[in-house]
């Protein structure tokens, strides 16, 4: 079931093209990674979904309905550039932000108490924000973002400023929120966390979407058919054994072992086929298929020739 559908959105600021024909589908109860280098248009897209700004062209649907101001209370947004009123007390401020999202004061208070207990920060309630460290303030911001239990959570670089312990805490919360039924849009250029928690991704570069899909599918799609095998034995007989199915790319000697990088020639080559081919000639220490990381895919896609560099008629 689809929660958000961004349909052919265009947005231009003065001379700067921010979004060019961007379409995205996000299904319910998924963690959706919105990736892209700085200035690619991620923040603009997020602002459009949050109705902070409108698209020049295109439409956005929230649960099948056209996006409208009434959906604001069902969206939670943690911007990348975020802060709190420094002179205001933590509790007061959290209450204020919750009420702005349409919660009643009592409801907000009950839920805030719950979250403050969960994060073990109940003694912060009467502290002024300026007394908190950056990480502490981030925790408060996270709470105010999820407090009204939005159906759609938009987190822009949520882990920046967190230490590893708090990063894990927030990761755990994000996964828990998904279990409870929330959908999360997760904008980042930290590829490690993408692999860890995202179900789907879209990659935006220079105002265009250049890649999207399930993380597992994308990784498969970008498989290079390269294997790394560590073995003991004769390199020449190993090479001979490869001849029909694999091509030797590179070898390294490490103490008694030889580390070889080979590429499958046939389409159906697999770890099994590799083991079968060389099993009788050498002693295998380890073998694994080299699967590209999201980081490698990201860099590869971003460095590809962009349609922007092509004549405009090709659109």
């Amino acid at each position: 079931m689809e929660i958000l559908h961004v349909k052919r959105v265009y947005k231009t600021y003065a001379e700067h093209k921010a979004l060019h024909n961007v379409s995205i589908h996000i299904d319910k109860q998924r963690i959706f990674g919105l990736l892209g280098p700085n200035g690619a248009g991620k923040t603009t897209l997020i602002r459009i979904v949050n109705q902070i700004t409108g698209p020049d062209q295109g439409e956005i649907f929230f649960e099948g309905e056209k996006l409208a101001p009434k959906h604001i209370s069902q969206i939670g947004y943690l911007p990348e550039e975020r802060g709190l009123y420094k002179k205001m007390k933590v509790g007061e401020q959290a209450l204020y932000l919750a009420q702005l999202k349409g919660m009643s004061k009592n409801e907000a208070k009950t839920k805030l108490n719950h979250w403050f207990e969960k994060f073990e920060i109940t003694n912060w309630w009467d502290k002024k924000v300026e007394e908190l460290s950056k990480g502490m303030a981030q925790k408060v911001q996270f709470i105010t973002t999820v407090l009204h239990e939005p159906k759609l959570l938009i987190l822009d670089e949520p882990f920046s400023g967190f230490d590893p312990i708090n990063t894990n805490l927030i990761k755990k919360e994000i996964l828990e929120l998904r279990e409870k039924g929330s959908t999360i849009i997760f904008s980042t250029h930290n590829m490690e966390s993408v692999e860890e928690i995202c179900d789907d991704i879209a990659l935006i570069n220079k105002s265009r979407k250049i890649l999207d899909g399930k993380v597992s599918e994308i990784k498969n799609q970008f498989k290079t058919n390269i294997y790394e095998i560590v073995f003991k034995g004769n390199l020449i007989s190993f090479t001979n054994a490869l001849w029909t199915g694999f091509e030797l790319l590179d070898t390294k000697k490490q103490e008694d072992n030889i580390i070889a990088k080979v590429k499958g020639i046939r389409k159906d080559s697999s770890v099994n086929a590799l083991i079968g081919a060389v099993l009788n000639d050498i002693t295998i220490v380890s073998v694994n298929e080299h699967i590209p990381t999201m980081n490698e895919i990201f860099i590869q896609k971003v460095n590809e020739v962009m349609p922007d560099d092509l004549p405009e008629e090709l659109d």
């Binding site: 604001i72 911007p79 975020r82 802060g83 349409g102």
Partner: protein, 439 residues
């Protein structure tokens, strides 16, 4: 609760709860009342009575010197040397020595404590008058008594007549005072609270909370909530000031009045030769009070108060909108300079023009400045105590309302783009572009 009401509430409460606000509200009136009372108190307390010994070698100035509350003259038949010798034994504070009645004579004043300028000029004019009298008597045989009898005393009372033939006398002094006072108040209030709007916007922008908030409310709601919230802070402070000032002033006046009575009794005992009489004093005091009452009855007080509230709010909303826009366009207060100039110029200009307007409260300068929204809040306040035609007042008010609606519209456009713009030096050209962005 309505979101804009929530914003107004936050803006209001966070400011009203600040220690600086409470201190300003409490000590402001003490300061103001003090500024009003201290001169009066000093005038009473420091009534430094000058007792002047007159040594007149010419014997022409007997009974020529008239004493007042603060200066007493004693005519002594001594030589100047004797007087100087016994000076520090005597009660006199200074010795006046007149040696001749030449037209350009120089008299000497020997003192223990420096006499004020007014004392000196009073002595000068008395001697001049004395010499003139002596010459008049010598050359034209006119006695001093004759002169006193024909001494005229003229006052000019200005009375306006309107088309219907209704006469009304106005006191220019009180009008000037009220007009200028109102103008100063509006000027300071617009600045004080307008700048608070700008600071608030910059605070939200630099602390980066603004993006969180405008994902829940429209930028326009945030801007208007802030402007209205701060206006309420201003009105709260203003009304508290008035109430507290009046309280302190009346208590202070009461205290001063009772100590004043004591002083008068004391001076009655002190002054034995009757050069300054209490009864005379009382009469003049009563007269002044009557005059003051008369003056105020001619001034349209209710009209002034209503106009003050209107022009304060109107001017504040007009300039507040501009200042909110400036706050949104910059990254820190230091960057506001270039945009503040065109905002402050009309305010300062109208403040400078206020005195010319008072000179000619119905002239073309006064008319136009009190119609144009940017200058009208100050200039109209200056004009109202002198009397303004109703149609002019209504036109000015209507234009001010249109002015701040227009300013708010423009400000909203700049604001919604500006608050999300970081790390960029904004130019006027850029601001103009923002005005025409479509939503």
């Amino acid at each position: 609760m309505n979101k804009i009401a929530l914003i107004i509430q936050r803006e209001y409460l966070t400011r009203v709860k600040k220690t600086s606000f409470i201190l300003m509200t409490l000590f402001g009136p003490i300061l103001m009342a003090g500024l009003m009372l201290i001169p009066i108190w000093l005038g009473l307390k420091d009534k430094d009575i000058q007792i002047i010994e007159v040594i007149d070698d010419t014997r022409q100035f007997i009974n020529q010197f008239e004493g007042t509350n603060t200066i007493q003259f004693y005519y002594e038949f001594k030589s100047i040397d004797d007087a100087k010798k016994s000076f520090y034994k005597d009660k006199y504070t200074s010795i006046l020595h007149i040696s001749n009645t030449d037209k350009n004579t120089t008299a000497y004043l020997y003192y223990k404590k420096q006499p004020g300028l007014s004392t000196v000029s009073k002595i000068e004019s008395t001697i001049e008058k004395g010499i003139k009298n002596i010459e008049l008597e010598k050359q034209f045989n006119i006695s001093r008594k004759q002169l006193d009898e024909i001494q005229p005393k003229v006052t000019v009372k200005s009375v306006s007549i309107d088309e219907a033939g209704l006469e009304e006398s106005k006191n220019v002094g009180v009008s000037t005072f009220l007009g200028f006072g109102g103008a100063i108040l509006i000027y300071t209030f617009i600045f004080m609270y307008g700048i608070q709007i700008m600071r608030g916007v910059i605070e939200e922008k630099t602390s980066r909370i603004v993006e969180i908030i405008i994902s829940s409310v429209k930028p326009f709601q945030l801007m208007m909530g802030k402007i209205v919230g701060i206006a309420l802070v201003g009105l709260t402070q203003f009304s508290l000031w008035i109430i507290l000032s009046m309280g302190i002033y009346s208590v202070g006046m009461g205290v001063l009045a009772s100590s004043n009575m004591n002083q008068l009794n004391f001076s009655k005992e002190a002054i034995t030769n009757g050069m300054s009489s209490e009864s005379e004093n009382e009469i003049s005091e009563n007269k002044i009070e009557e005059q003051i009452n008369e003056m105020f009855s001619q001034i349209p007080i209710t009209k002034i108060v209503i106009a003050f509230l209107f022009y304060f709010l109107g001017g504040y909303l007009l300039y507040g909108a501009f200042l909110a826009a400036i706050g949104s366009a910059v990254d820190s207060e230091a960057d506001t300079q270039q945009f503040m100039m065109p905002i402050t110029i009309p305010l300062i200009f109208s403040f400078i023009m206020a005195s010319s307007v008072m000179e000619n409260p119905d002239g073309p300068l006064a008319f136009w400045l009190s119609i144009i929204p940017l200058t009208s809040p100050i200039i109209m306040m200056v004009r109202i105590p002198f009397g303004v035609a109703t149609w002019e007042l209504l036109l000015s008010m209507a234009l001010l309302v249109l002015g701040f609606l227009g300013a708010t519209w423009m400000a909203a456009k700049i604001y919604r783009t500006g608050i999300l713009m970081y790390g960029k030096k904004i130019t006027y050209k850029e601001l103009l572009k923002w005005l025409f962005y479509k939503e």
